[in-house]
């Protein structure tokens, strides 16, 4: 199978380029894209990419696979190459500075995550054992807490491409709502005040690229809608 990989080493290359590799695929079984990258690495050890858990939990190997962002470790080659003439094209996640080959600088992505204060704030006295939640209160966090911060969604979002330093992005906003929806958090007012500017939340135009690419099947657009609803309730 032909695998085309985005190559860029800023120390050597003047401009990025695509390099093709011919990979012998084992017959009778499907590989994940990450397995193919390992085969490429056997041919050319200079190819760089991030990986860790290889089972869709750590979020390290987010990349653009045949035009769509996804996790290489949980994307079967058969699905990625469906209707693409059996060719695998791998590029780094779009819109972010490339450090080398498929490795991007996630600095701005993490900065936006930091901006939404991704931790519980509670100004009431700490209980002896733990802060309890009812099953209903806990259920509100389903579809939010599962995010692994792989950045597939934010780097598929044009609003994040144009304003990564101002727009929080789908991943950050999903987490912002995760803490807004948490019954144990008491800083709802401060959190909402921090988001009520023309960029942080409202730069989302609802095109749902984030929903389309999320490897965990989450829905950041819905979470953003809930944040808008909370801001509206607070403002009217």
């Amino acid at each position: 199978m032909l695998v085309s990989i985005y190559r860029y080493n800023p120390e050597k290359d003047e401009a990025p380029y695509m390099q093709d590799y011919q990979i012998d695929m084992p017959t009778g079984r499907d590989l994940m894209v990450l397995d193919v990258l390992a085969l490429v690495k056997e041919q050319d050890s200079s190819v760089s990419y991030r990986r860790s858990c290889r089972e869709g939990v750590c979020g390290s190997d987010g990349m653009n696979i045949n035009g769509k962002n996804g996790l290489a470790c949980v994307m079967p080659v058969s699905e990625a190459t469906k209707g693409k003439n059996d060719k695998l094209i791998l590029r780094p996640l779009p819109g972010m500075p490339v450090i080398r080959d498929l490795v991007i600088d996630m600095g701005l992505f993490y900065k936006q995550y930091e901006n939404i204060k991704p931790y519980l704030n509670n100004d009431t006295p700490a209980p002896a054992i733990e802060r309890l939640q009812s099953p209903e209160e806990r259920a509100k966090l389903d579809g939010l807490y599962e995010c692994i911060l792989c950045a597939c969604c934010s780097t598929a979002c044009p609003s994040f491409w144009w304003n990564p330093e101002k727009f929080v992005g789908p991943a950050g906003l999903l987490q912002a709502y995760r803490f807004l929806a948490d019954s144990r958090d008491t800083s709802t007012e401060e959190r909402l005040a921090n988001l009520d500017d023309p960029f942080s939340v409202f730069r989302c135009r609802g095109i749902m690229n984030c929903v389309n690419v999320c490897p965990k099947g989450l829905n950041p657009t819905r979470a953003i809608g809930h944040i808008r609803g909370m801001l509206l309730q607070r403002g009217v």
Binding site: S159, N163, L195, D196, D197, S200, G235
Partner: protein, 115 residues
């Protein structure tokens, strides 16, 4: 919290609500005008003048005019802050947009209530 002084309202929420509200007003106004044109297949200038001579129509048209100005400014401001990165060019683009919006508003009022 990101500071901005060139957007229409005081907050992102304000702009968002105004954009949606004005969209509804413009949709209703456009549908009414379309309906009027369909209901009058042999539309003459006198029918048109009669329609706009009515105070209710003048108020509705002024509302639509203000709506298009607010809606247009929010939309163009969004485009400018997305795609035009050099501050000077962005300022110039917004200045030209503001001039157009202002001229449309004054011209529209003049057409509606002028002699």
């Amino acid at each position: 919290m990101v500071a901005s002084i060139t957007n229409l309202g005081r907050s992102g929420l304000y702009d968002w609500v105004i954009q949606r509200l004005t969209a509804v007003i413009l949709a209703v106004y456009t549908l009414f005008l379309l309906g009027f044109v369909i209901a009058h297949p042999d539309l003459q200038y006198s029918d048109w003048q009669q329609l706009f001579a009515c105070t209710a129509m003048k108020i509705a048209t002024l509302l639509a005019l203000i709506s298009i100005c607010a809606h247009g400014w929010i939309g163009m401001w969004t485009i400018a802050t997305d795609y035009i990165k050099p501050t000077g060019f962005r300022f110039l683009f917004l200045l030209v947009t503001a001039a157009f919006v202002f001229v449309y508003l004054v011209w529209g009022i003049d057409i509606l209530w002028g002699a």
